[in-house]
């Protein structure tokens, strides 16, 4: 009787071990509970073992004394302990990569990000079941999942489950949708660098907002017409930013969550009060992008920009060579970019329907450093005789007009003095000025490199310094070099020779044995 009662303790102990192990794996965020349960389980088993040591000893030395129930019990105990060991090793990944290029190892940066992951991240991968790069992607995701239980992925075949593909509006095979706490990112080029950067983007705590100013005849983010900005709004939102518009006159100051303020092609001038808000915003490390078209009468805004070292001339850039928009001479093209952070690896051409020149001012204030970011192709010029354009086609007048390449976009770093004695300066704010606002309108956005250069500029302004670059693994190519004759070896040795050897050896041994008998 007594024996049976206390065997309940052992059973409870085993159950607790199982429970604890499963909880440890399945609910790792509440590790403390599963550890407590495991400890209780362990304690129960230890207690049972201790108080029945004699009986257990007998079990191990005199088999006849074993009872059926003990068999069951000990097996269960061992199973519990083994499950526990597996649970631990599942939660603490340890791996050695023996491949030459360390193909399956993740970089230290990625590992660190994953280990510190504190939000659930779910990936839905839309791949055909027999897609060539599916295995490679799965290998990569498996490695990610190894370092964080919060990183979960699943593969969905868009052909077999079209309703899910519909829900996510998937357009291409091989797209991955990453979701975390309501945020979403999409990827089509899948490698470690892109994946980790997408993770970083999606994990950003404060959702940064991009604000478009309105109230001076600017382009509107709700406008779906040719000249509207609905397209660029959606493009920015795809990068996980919120896009809003604001009227400077109805606010006291620029909102806290404003990462970049965009002035999208006004045709009326700005008030003094508004410009003061901009100054204040810059002092508070704000970032501004100004898109200003030719022929608009905005002297106050122009002076504001001059204050930061940017000169706007009253001109229009003429391009008689590129012939865009049906040989329209007012759509200059830029194809080669000056050395600049933003256009470092940029190889695509961009075009600017109706643009003006933007260049460093003649005298640049001391706390400012300014760089030309985009300039049009050499065979263009900046036409200053705007009146003549109304009556006749553009003609280049040497001395009067500015010869190409014409700068149409500049970037400004605004510094502030930190230590006067050693002339130490710190970056306070950034400013970008484009001499055109139509290059990202709905009509032009999706052509050439227009959208990309705009987004790159946004990144530069928002200082996406957190984004990292990871050196891709070397691709390993090892080819096989063999003559036709020698190739035959590959059939005869493995398929015929080897089995034959074993067969003969076996026959020999058995035959000999039989003979001996």
């Amino acid at each position: 009787m007594k024996y049976k009662d206390s065997s309940v303790i052992a059973i409870i102990g085993v159950v607790l071990l199982f429970l604890g192990s499963f909880l440890y794996i399945l609910l790792p965020q509440n590790k403390i509970y599963s550890i407590i349960i495991l400890l209780f389980g362990l304690a129960a088993i230890v207690f049972y073992t201790y108080s029945h040591w004699k009986e257990i000893n007998i079990l191990f030395t005199y088999h006849a004394a074993a009872r059926g129930v003990n068999f069951f019990l000990t097996v269960l105990i061992v199973l519990g302990i083994l499950t526990f060991i597996n649970a631990i090793s599942a939660r603490h990944p340890m791996q050695i990569d023996f491949t030459k290029s360390k193909k399956f190892s993740l970089s230290d940066q990625t590992q660190k990000i994953l280990k510190n992951l504190n939000k659930e991240v779910n990936l839905t991968c839309f791949f055909k079941t027999v897609q060539p790069n599916r295995k490679e992607v799965e290998d990569l995701l498996k490695q990610y999942a190894l370092y964080s239980y919060r990183f979960k992925y699943k593969f969905v075949d868009p052909d077999r489950k079209p309703e899910i593909a519909q829900k996510y509006k998937i357009q291409n095979y091989g797209t991955i949708v990453i979701e975390s706490e309501g945020n979403e990112q999409r990827m089509s080029v899948i490698d470690e660098e892109n994946l980790t950067n997408a993770l970083l983007k999606i994990l950003r705590n404060l959702k940064k907002s991009i604000y478009f100013v309105k109230g001076h005849g600017e382009k509107e983010i709700t406008d779906t017409d040719k000249k509207g900005y609905v397209g660029i709004k959606e493009a920015i939102e795809q990068e996980n930013y919120t896009v809003k518009d604001m009227n400077l006159m109805s606010e006291k100051q620029i909102p806290e969550d404003c990462a970049v303020l965009i002035i999208p092609g006004p045709d009326k001038d700005y008030f003094d009060r508004e410009l003061k808000m901009l100054d204040q915003y810059i002092d508070n490390n704000g970032k501004i992008m100004v898109l200003i078209d030719p022929e608009v009468k905005t002297p106050e805004l122009r002076n504001f920009l001059k204050k930061y070292g940017v000169k706007l001339s009253e001109d229009i850039v003429i391009d008689m060579v590129s012939g865009l928009f049906g040989n329209n001479p007012f759509v200059p093209v830029a194809s080669e970019y000056p050395v600049h952070e933003i256009t470092k690896n940029f190889k695509v051409a961009t075009f600017y329907p109706l643009a003006r020149s933007v260049e460093p001012a003649d005298t640049i204030p001391p706390e400012v450093s300014i760089n030309i970011m985009v300039q049009t192709i050499p065979k263009t010029w900046a036409e200053t005789d705007l009146e003549s354009l109304k009556i006749m086609p553009p003609i280049f007048q040497r001395g009067r007009d500015k010869e190409g390449p014409v700068p149409v976009a500049v970037s400004v770093n605004i510094n502030q003095e930190v230590d006067k004695s050693i002339n130490k300066k710190e970056l306070k704010s950034k400013l970008i000025v484009f001499g055109d606002s139509d290059f990202i309108s709905n009509a032009s956005l999706n052509f050439a490199g227009n959208k990309d250069i705009f987004l790159n500029t946004i990144y530069w302004l928002v200082e996406e310094g957190e984004l990292i670059s990871i050196r891709p693994k070397e691709k390993e190519i090892q080819l096989m070099f063999i003559t036709e004759r020698l190739w035959k070896l590959f059939f005869w040795l493995p398929v015929v020779f080897l089995p034959l050897v074993v067969l003969s050896a076996g026959t020999f041994v058995i035959y000999n044995r039989r003979r001996k008998k």
Partner: protein, 260 residues
């Protein structure tokens, strides 16, 4: 536990003087050899094509190397063949003795249960090694004609050794359950297949039961070895299985019912 050697020796002799071990090894080598030949053939053709192809740039992305293109699929296929053949190797270990009542004689010797089990296990494991080691001819042969990654290859073989050991342990347990060899083989085979199929449990069974079953599947844990990754979790997994079933066999042997 050191006394396992006499049992080991006797069992080994038993294997070598009967056709069963040779048949299994020859069959496996035939299968393995042919698999190696056809997989390498494809790799050979790809190499030739790569040299003359305009699509070199896109082919770069396919990771055309021996590890990915030959041994990863080859060792994967091996594990299936091994899964099928192991029950045949272990089915007679206890069943035969039970049937012919020689087990009674065995129990009268001054041998502990663990020695008996260990001896039989080691004997079958030796046969398994005799089956596996000749296949090392394949990478050696290949090494004359291309660059080999020996490190990842050894890890791949380690995976086979560990999984094979686990299968053997499972087989021994089922052999101990019944005196009918066929029943033992079929049961073992069924269980091994079942665990193999658990790989897809996650898709079919919802919630945590599916997750656990998928974890228990052999396929989930063999992949990393063939990729050249030595993953502690997978090693622990196979050792756990091996140990658990050997322990199960031990408990079974000790229980009064079994001896009665």
């Amino acid at each position: 536990m050191k006394n396992f050697f006499p049992v080991y020796k006797k069992e080994l002799q038993s294997y070598f003087y009967s056709p069963i071990a040779y048949v299994i090894i020859v069959v496996f080598l035939l299968l393995a050899g042919y698999l190696f030949y056809s997989i390498t053939n494809f790799y050979y053709l790809m190499s030739q094509f790569y040299e003359t192809s305009k699509y070199q740039a896109t082919m770069q992305n396919l990771d055309l190397n021996v590890r990915e293109r030959v041994f990863r699929p080859l060792l994967g296929n091996f594990s299936i063949a091994i899964l099928v053949l192991m029950p045949l190797l272990t089915m007679r270990l206890f069943s035969e003795e039970k049937k012919t009542k020689t087990i009674e004689l065995l129990f009268t010797y001054p041998l502990k249960d663990e020695d008996i089990i260990l001896g039989k296990f080691m004997a079958s494991f030796t046969i398994y090694m005799a089956m596996l080691i000749p296949t090392l001819l394949y990478p050696v042969l290949l090494s004359f004609f291309t660059k080999m990654e020996w490190g990842s290859l050894m890890v791949g073989y380690l995976g086979l050794v560990l999984s094979g050991a686990a299968f053997l342990a499972i087989g021994i347990f089922f052999s101990a359950i019944t005196e009918n060899q066929i029943v033992s083989a079929v049961l073992c085979f069924g269980v091994l297949l079942l665990f193999l199929l658990f790989r897809w449990a996650k898709e079919v069974v919802s919630w945590w039961i599916g997750e656990i079953l998928t974890y228990l599947s052999f396929m989930s844990h063999s992949e990393s070895f063939t990729k050249g990754l030595l993953n502690a979790q997978d090693v622990v997994f196979y050792l756990t299985f091996m140990f658990f079933f050997l322990f199960l066999t031990y408990s079974l042997l000790s229980s009064k019912k079994w001896r009665g």
